[in-house]
Amino acid sequence: MGFLEIRNTTKSYGPVEILHDIDISVEEGEFLVLVGPSGCGKSTLLNMIAGLEDITSGEISIKGRVMNGVHPSKRNIAMVFQSYALYPNMTVGQNITFGLEMHGTPRAEREKALAEVARLLQIDHLLDRKPGQLSGGQRQRVAMGRALVRDPDVFLFDEPLSNLDAKLRVDMRTEIKKLHQKLKTTIVYVTHDQIEAMTLSTRIAVMYQGYVQQLGTPKEIYDTPANVFVATFMGSPAMNIIPAHVVMREDVPHAKITDADGNEVLLRFSQPNLAEWDGREILLGIRPEAMTDPEGADRQSANIQTLTNRVSVTEPAGSDTFVTMVLGGKEVVARMRADALVRPGQRFDFAANMEKAIAFDPKTEKRIAP
């Protein structure tokens, strides 16, 4: 049994069900990220764990204690809000210790806990300031300090980095990760940013339209997405989804695709179970980094297939060059080395790493191979 257990939990507002049968079990010390586009229900789920929203049906328990109907302050949780929610009239020190004060912790202990947290987050010199006098990054630290000082069972983060500018966001991301590695706390973290999800989490729950689409480690989510939504939501640029036909050549399944000039391209699959899809249509998923120039192809891969296709656009991004082409009537992005010599309009040899290819059922959009 998990440390934080969400069992068959649903949430409805009136007749509208917005969370359907959520089932997640989080072990102690895990960093679970709930990720999904706006309106997928991830923040609602977090608020239900916090006790800020009722649970319509099902059960949420922390450390084996059922939390349905338990007041937020009695769940031994701490939450970091998107806006930080620092009390504007209190100093940083008062902000951090407010929760302890409300729980009747003696002053001496409060001071001790405050000093410890302030040292950990390097905000010692800010303790007498008001939140209004702090920068975004400093406010973020204070908000985390307020959560840390309580020493809760579970930390809840509600998009804590989305109010920061791009550079600071990356810094704070690393900071949060360091903090988690050091303190080994259990964290549930909500974000709509798939990079945050990939970098921070030990496990990810990808949510969409009130369902958990897939729950797994970042690697599982990235390499074997459960469906087309997860495949395209996670990863940037998004995974290419190409309509293809399965054909057999010497008893091995191949993907038959038309290229930009109407020629037929055959790419051999590494997944033998696709034989049963012989003659039928599938969606071929291939990530941009599995579609490169021949020199940049993965040398570990046992199945590199070459195809020649006309280049439509090149986008040099410094570290890589993104090359767009048309395959199977869809725009497909390939990720090249920065110094690959490729020009728009040219016919160019691409190397597709078919070991990393994924096949989806075009009707259900679920993964069928590997």
Partner: protein, 292 residues
């Protein structure tokens, strides 16, 4: 090349601006004229007023009319001056303003941060109370005060003014708190603060500007009220009623200088409140995006 021309936006605006200020100063003088008349005539001996020029400065300065208005003028049948009535007004205004402001703040807090089904309806009905004319409630109010045993007393007047003021104070605080981030309340809930603690420690400390608006509004309205004071004041009538009794007396000589002094005395407290808190009044009106 011609000489550099100094015809900038600043210089062309100058003539218009001088004209504008001139007009504004004239308006201000016109507006201040009644105050001047009151002030000047309250420090003149009576013959100087009855003898002619109201606008002239006094030839013989005297504070006697002020002393008389305060402590010896004939109010009704008693030569008490305004002093006891001034005290009545204070005893009525202070609790009425305090209670209505606190209740308004609590209402605003509940209507925005502890929302319940029908909260908007309740607020709408409370708003409605702002538009009920005083005269309509006189008889029902008399009935209720009688039943409560508060008729003709200061607590009765306090009750009337609190009931009448809650609509306004709730409006102010609700709109102010609507702009207050709900995440703060949620954070405080997780921190373990309860209903009153959140109100006291989180919301109230940042409510200064709107509290000032509420206090000024309530103070001015309650202090200046005549109808409720005359109807329900009984033996403890407020300042406004006493002033009326003084000025409207139909026997004896009309002591205009005393009347002027008394009128200024009656207006002083509201003036003082504006001078002290007026700055915050405008700021609070803007902050809560409330129309005053």
């Amino acid at each position: 090349m011609s000489a550099i021309r100094h015809e900038t936006a600043v210089s062309t605006g100058r003539t218009a601006r001088v004209f504008l200020y001139l007009v504004l100063v004239l308006f201000a003088l016109f507006y201040l004229l009644p105050l001047y008349v009151m002030g000047v005539n309250s420090v003149k001996p009576l013959p100087e007023i009855t003898g002619g020029n109201m606008m002239a400065l006094p030839r013989a300065w005297t504070l006697e009319p002020w002393r008389a208005a305060w402590s010896s003028a004939q109010i009704g049948v008693q030569p008490t001056g305004l002093k006891p009535y001034f005290l009545n007004s204070i005893l009525m205004v202070v609790p009425a303003v305090a209670i209505s402001t606190i209740v308004g703040a609590l209402n605003g807090y509940i209507l925005t941060k502890w929302r319940f089904r029908g909260a908007d309806w309740v607020f709408g009905l409370m708003l409605f109370s702002c538009f009920i004319p005083f005269q309509i409630v006189l008889i029902p109010m008399a009935l209720i005060l009688g039943k409560l045993g508060l008729a003709g007393s200061i607590p009765g007047l306090v009750l009337v003014h609190v009931v009448y003021g809650i609509g306004f104070t709730t409006l102010y605080f609700r709109n102010y708190y609507a702009a207050f981030p709900t995440e703060l309340v949620r954070a405080a809930m997780i921190d373990g603060a309860g209903f009153f603690r959140i109100f006291w420690r989180i919301l109230l400390p940042v409510s200064g500007p709107i509290a000032v608006v509420s206090v000024i509004w309530q103070f001015t309205n309650i202090w200046n009220d005549f109808l409720f004071g005359a109807s329900f004041g009984g033996t403890s009538q407020p300042m406004t009623v006493a002033l009326n009794n003084l000025v409207q007396s139909s026997t004896g000589v009309k002591e205009y200088n005393v009347h002027f002094a008394a009128a200024i005395l009656a207006a002083l407290p509201t003036l003082a409140v504006y001078v002290v808190a007026g700055r915050y009044f405008v700021r609070g009106l803007m902050a809560g995006s409330v129309k005053g």
